[in-house]
Amino acid sequence: MVIQAVHVPESVDAVVTCSARGGLLMGGGTVVMPLVNSGSAAVTELVSLRRAGMDGIEVSDGVATIGAAATLAAVGEHPGLAFLRPALRTIASPTIRNQATVGGNLFVPQPYGDLAVCLLALEATCELAGPAGRREAPVADVLTTGIAPGEVVVAVRFALPEPGTWHYHKAMRRRLNSAAIVTVASVTSAGDYRIALGGLAPRPVRAVSAERLLRGRPLTPESLTEAGEAARADIDPFDDAYASAWYRARVLPVHLRRAFLPESP
């Protein structure tokens, strides 16, 4: 539809007001503006988060709180979030990372949205604001059921993983600037594994079958391959221009293993 208004509210409350009136939320515009430019946006009003004061990043006491309008570049440059830097560098290009936002990444369809996969593995919490006030929700819920009309994700919050417990691996069609074939993000703690997968279902998913199988077991090529095969129960892969559903499922065990043991066997 033809856009009739672009709101650039300067507070979260103002964002909620505009959003509640039916405006489409827009972080960096990397998802919304292609729709606008091709005339296929299903709305007439946009609500930009660029000036809403939602782009702060705070890391203290082992907890990171990232404003939903923070750009991927800003996250990647934050000294307290260095563990995420390799993951962020697999997303799009530096130019697009100057625009794309953390909040926006939660709502892009797979095989895009690798940061959302990371946040799922980190068991992040979303801080939401809406007409009914503020609330919190696990990122898993936001990824599966979305948010209510008029609501906006204000920030995401997660505990920083202990050193050496964070694993990330993304299989791509080219070295840079490619969507995912398989994305694996994981936090391990004391034999307990939280594993999130991207590229393998319409939304990021937890590889619960793999997590169950690995619990308490050492990470070996064999256990990981077994876990990767088990994880096929957790996915709902699709065909696209990058790869077929068959291929994604076929190489899942390989990439799950490489996420933890890059050099093996």
Binding site: V2, I3, A5, G29, T30, M33, P34, S48, P94, I96
Partner: protein
């Protein structure tokens, strides 16, 4: 909401113009301000030829609703050569035969400008990552990477001699 007056600092000059709701920064630069160096290659943020600097950072101008950057400092390729003198990136692109059809060149140069502003001595890997969102269909990229590294060298040399 009707069209509104938007004000930008473009290449160091304050420019005001009327923009329709949802107009992109790219459309405003090209159509309202007559700055046609930035090109429309896809309007999807995926080709990079519309890249301009917004407050010093490269952004795809086709993805920027212009209202959202009102008041920002925009730098386009028109603002790179000063007084008709080409800068190091521009002259290196010529000398290294890094242009063929020329359609990707404006975006490539703006990405390079931002890179060299931040890092005067980038590695080849840095250059490659910087241009990884810019599509070139003619050259196979190698001459462009060489040109940006050469530009960095020339800029460092100039900084020493000054």
């Amino acid at each position: 909401m009707p069209s509104q007056i938007v004000s930008l600092d473009v290449n160091g000059e304050r420019r005001e113009f009327i923009a329709a709701p949802g107009a992109t920064l790219l459309a405003c630069l090209r159509e309202s301000l007559g700055l046609t160096a930035a090109k429309r290659g896809c309007a999807q943020g995926a080709c990079g030829t519309c890249t301009v600097l917004v407050d010093g950072r490269p952004e795809a101008a086709c993805l920027v609703a212009v209202e959202t950057v009102a008041g920002s400092a925009i730098r386009t390729l028109e603002g790179v050569a000063t007084g008709g003198d080409l800068d190091e990136v521009q002259s290196a692109f010529i000398d290294c035969f890094a242009t063929q059809c020329g359609f990707c060149t404006p975006g490539m140069i703006m990405v390079a400008e931002a890179l060299l502003d931040r890092d005067p001595d980038p590695s080849e890997a840095d250059v490659i990552e910087a241009i990884s969102g810019n599509v070139c269909r003619c050259t196979g990229y190698r001459p462009i990477v060489i040109a940006i590294l050469e530009a960095a060298r020339r800029r460092r040399e100039r900084a020493v001699t000054r």
